[in-house]
């Protein structure tokens, strides 16, 4: 454990200082005269709800977006970034919220693309590139070779490549936009160590996260944005978690999970012996009416893969599925929906939202059968349905015919959940429903889940967050390497047992929580 305020001198000048920065998109003012300072050898946490403008700030600092107003100063000198290269030359590097890497290239090429070492003919010096990459990977404890093709890596390892890439340039400012979202506990710990090393080297770090434990663990300073505006900043040591939350949402939010009465009904869904040649095997469980069944596991345990097979996306090699006692054959998502099973996917951008279609059409897409007559659309019905569910989920948008792509990640997630609730399903599978969602919306999603369960809907919730799993589930299935490692009733849920089963450790170990 390190202490927050130890090394902080008050009179250090910021390396980067953003002042009165404004950024508008068509119809949206993403940032409105915000300010942000980053100090050498310190970690500044940028906090705010979904859509507060955090990622937009990152994109401005890395030269991807250009501002509509305001100044950026580096060491006190005003600069303008016309391209990502300008920002890189100014010593700013970033690990972006989305993994921005190239599947077809090798790990080393991913790390060095754009600044590969050259030989005397001006050609890329592959040997040197690989040896440099290997030493970087060793430094961050990455367990794979620099020759590996990126597409062969799992999502967590890809994040490590992204981190290595950020470190491959000799940067003075390192930006991390939700770097831990896809990492396991062990990897997160390694990341913390890395942050400490970078601090010790005198680098300024901007750290974006929705996880408060994390922020209080490693940040020295905070800056809060709300709805694209600057709310305040200061030292972490001077603020309490509650005050920070209040600043962030403009009101105080109880970060406790909804109080639920756990009265589950008859069996709704029964899965027996689901298997896939390479992804999972022997998956059997039952789900009751009004129950919330948690699926816990380390990232990459195969939970999403199994759920997608249950939802008819991929074909299981074996296994049967019963709904209310009747055998059901689910070969496509369409059949799953017909049978009352819906799936809110984890990859919102690719699988959840139909970017390019307006919000209301996204919401009504699987429910068109109900809002139309003889296959003919009825727009008024569609708007009615969309309005109803966007209000229930407290959606924030300029209008219902706005492209869903213009919404922040969290609001897109709300639209996707709304889309599935509108089909009035019997079983809803939520894959990491609150990943990347701000604390206010998170509570809303949790309340909503509880409400749905109370109304008799059966919920399967995949989550990698232990508090969420423990706080919400009636029962938890832990998966490891494509198999069910344990099934735990509510009473036996402790962070320690969950981690133990997920990681396959037989002895209780220290520091697992």
């Amino acid at each position: 454990m390190m202490t927050h305020s130890a090394a902080i001198a008050q009179d250090v000048t910021p390396v980067v200082s953003m002042d009165m920065i404004t950024k508008t998109f068509p119809g949206v003012r993403a940032l409105d005269q915000v300010k942000l300072d980053l100090y050498p050898g310190q970690v500044t946490a940028l906090v705010g709800e979904n859509g507060a403008g955090k990622s937009t700030t990152v994109k401005i600092l890395t030269g991807i977006y250009r501002t509509n107003g305001g100044t950026i100063r580096i060491d006190g000198n005003p600069v303008t970034f016309a391209s990502p290269n300008d920002a890189a030359n100014a010593g700013i590097t970033a690990i972006h919220q989305e993994t921005v890497l190239f599947d077809e290239l090798s790990v080393a090429e991913n790390i060095y693309i754009g600044h590969a070492p050259r030989n005397s003919f001006g050609l890329i010096d592959t040997a040197r590139m690989h040896s440099n990459a290997a030493s970087l990977l060793a430094e961050i404890g990455a367990p794979f070779s620099s020759h590996t093709q990126l597409s062969d890596l799992g999502i967590a390892n890809k994040h490590l490549v992204a981190i290595a890439r950020a470190l491959s340039v000799d940067a003075r400012v390192v930006i991390m936009d939700e770097p831990t979202a896809a990492l396991s506990h062990k990897e997160i710990e390694e990341l913390y160590d890395l942050v400490d090393t970078l601090k010790a080297q005198g680098k300024a770090i901007l750290f974006i996260s929705h996880k408060f434990d994390e922020i209080f663990r490693i940040a020295d300073r905070y800056t809060v944005f709300r709805d694209g505006g600057f709310v305040g900043d200061g030292l972490i040591a001077d603020i309490s978690e509650n005050d920070l939350v209040t600043m962030m949402v403009g009101r105080s939010v109880e970060q406790i999970f909804p109080d639920r009465t756990h009265n589950v009904g008859d069996e709704v869904l029964k899965v027996v012996g689901y298997a896939h040649p390479t992804e999972f095997a022997d998956i059997s469980f039952t789900l009751k009416r009004g129950e919330i069944l948690g699926f816990y596991g380390l990232v990459g345990a195969g939970r999403s893969e199994f759920m997608q097979a249950l939802f008819g996306i991929t074909k299981p090699s074996k296994g049967v599925c019963q709904m209310n006692g009747d055998l059901k054959i689910i070969r496509s998502p369409a059949q799953a929906v017909e049978n009352g099973i819906v799936y809110v996917p984890e990859d919102r951008g690719k699988q959840g939202a139909i970017i390019g279609l307006p919000i209301f059409q996204n919401i009504t897409l699987p429910s068109l059968g109900r809002t139309s007559k003889n296959g003919l659309l009825k727009l008024a019905e569609e708007f009615k349905l969309a309005r109803e569910y966007s209000q229930r989920l407290d959606l924030r948008a300029a209008s219902l015919d706005q492209d869903i792509g213009n919404l922040s990640g969290g609001n897109q997630q709300k639209v996707v959940i709304a889309k599935w609730l509108a089909t009035q399903p019997q079983v809803i599978i939520l894959d990491e429903p609150t990943k990347g969602i701000d604390i206010g919306s998170k509570a809303a999603v949790h309340d909503f889940m509880a409400e749905l369960a109370a109304q008799g809907l059966s919920v399967i919730m995949i989550s990698s967050e232990i508090p969420e799993i423990i706080g919400m589930s009636d029962r938890v299935i832990v998966m490891r390497d494509g198999l069910i490692a344990a099934e735990l009733p509510r009473e036996e849920l402790t962070p320690e047992t969950l981690v133990r089963h997920a990681a396959g450790i037989s002895q209780p170990t220290e520091g697992a929580a």
């Binding site: 990502p84 190239f102 754009g114 893969e305 198999l483």
Partner: protein, 326 residues
């Protein structure tokens, strides 16, 4: 994935070999070195153009204007040759390359600066370039006797047993091999096509890379324009009509993914050679010319289905047991 790429090329090489041997079993003359050299020489323009097209396709674009570019450049250099018969060949070559590159740049600028989809841009410029040939030539032909002997002679000049046309194709292949593997530009092309979004974040200018891809493709089309006109000793509006689709077909057969980001120089070359062998073999084995079209169509379909099969991914490996058996 890495494992599959050489496999794909091995299959294609095997198919070419098989085809060649099949023809040779009935017509041994087909595999005589002189004839094979001739087949290669015939295929040289396709190889050169396929390499240019490959670069464009890798960046998620497509260049349908290559054949029209070729024809226009060919017509212009032919008319220049008629007007100034003494102009040395290096200058003609330079003009052809620059002119082709300029037309490629027009495509590139429209794609880069105005973000018009490449297929639309090149569909438009394709018709415009053809129309311009008609305008400048009045639809008239430039015939062999009007061209200077040096002009028509260059592609035929034999060096170490191969005509210059073949040598130019070989040089282009080597240059592209180095460019794609060992230069910043070459790697950017893969990055831009593989994940344009990520390319932006890594400081690669996607539009600019696409622009240069079009310039490269255009320059090669221009070069081929001169070689084509000189080789066949005639220039008119319709030369190489429809050739753009053959070029795309060569790339696709060679395993260049039309979705961008995946493909190799070797693949493009083999794809072109495959089509070249088919084309040259059919008349030799005396298959009625009416069958040619259907056979090359089927060849494209089979090759593509084959390629897709060998490269299909089978889901992730999570199960420990499955990992062991892989």
């Amino acid at each position: 994935m890495k494992r599959f790429i050489p496999l794909r090329e091995a299959i294609l090489s095997a198919a070419i070999l098989f085809l060649t041997l099949l023809v040779a079993s009935r017509f041994p003359g087909f595999v005589a070195p002189a004839n094979l050299a001739n087949v290669f020489n015939d295929t040289a323009p396709l190889i050169i153009l396929a390499l240019g097209q490959m670069v464009v396709i890798l960046t998620r674009c497509i260049d349908l204007s290559v054949a029209a570019n070729l024809a226009l450049t060919g017509m212009v250099v032919a008319m220049i040759n008629v007007a100034i018969p003494g102009l040395p060949i290096p200058i003609i070559l330079t003009i052809a390359v620059l002119m082709g590159a300029f037309m490629g740049a027009i495509n590139g600028i429209l794609v880069w600066k105005l973000s018009i989809p490449p297929i639309v841009v090149t569909l438009g410029t394709m018709t415009i370039f053809r129309g311009i040939i008609f305008l400048i030539s009045d639809g008239k032909w430039v015939n062999s006797h009007e061209m200077s002997p040096a002009f028509t002679g260059f592609p035929r000049t034999v060096l170490l047993g191969l005509p210059a046309l073949s040598w130019i194709a070989i040089l282009t292949v080597v240059a592209f091999g180095i460019m794609m593997a060992r230069t910043q530009f070459g790697r950017s092309i893969f990055a831009v096509g593989g994940n344009p979004h990520a390319a932006v974040y890594t400081g690669i200018n996607v539009g600019k890379t696409q622009f240069w891809a079009f310039v490269v493709s255009g320059a090669l089309a221009g070069l081929t324009g001169y070689l084509w006109v000189a080789r066949y000793a005639v220039a008119y509006v319709d030369i190489a009509g429809g050739f753009e689709l053959e070029v795309v077909a060569a790339c696709v057969i060679g395993g260049i993914s039309i979705a961008g980001g995946i493909g190799t120089v070797g693949g493009a070359v083999l794809g072109a050679i495959f089509l070249g062998v088919v084309k040259n073999a059919l008349p030799v084995v005396d298959i009625s010319p009416f069958w040619q079209l259907a056979i090359s169509g089927s060849a494209i379909l089979i090759a593509v289905a084959f390629n897709a099969r060998s490269g299909r991914n089978k889901g992730r490996v999570i199960l420990k047991s499955a990992e062991a058996t892989q």
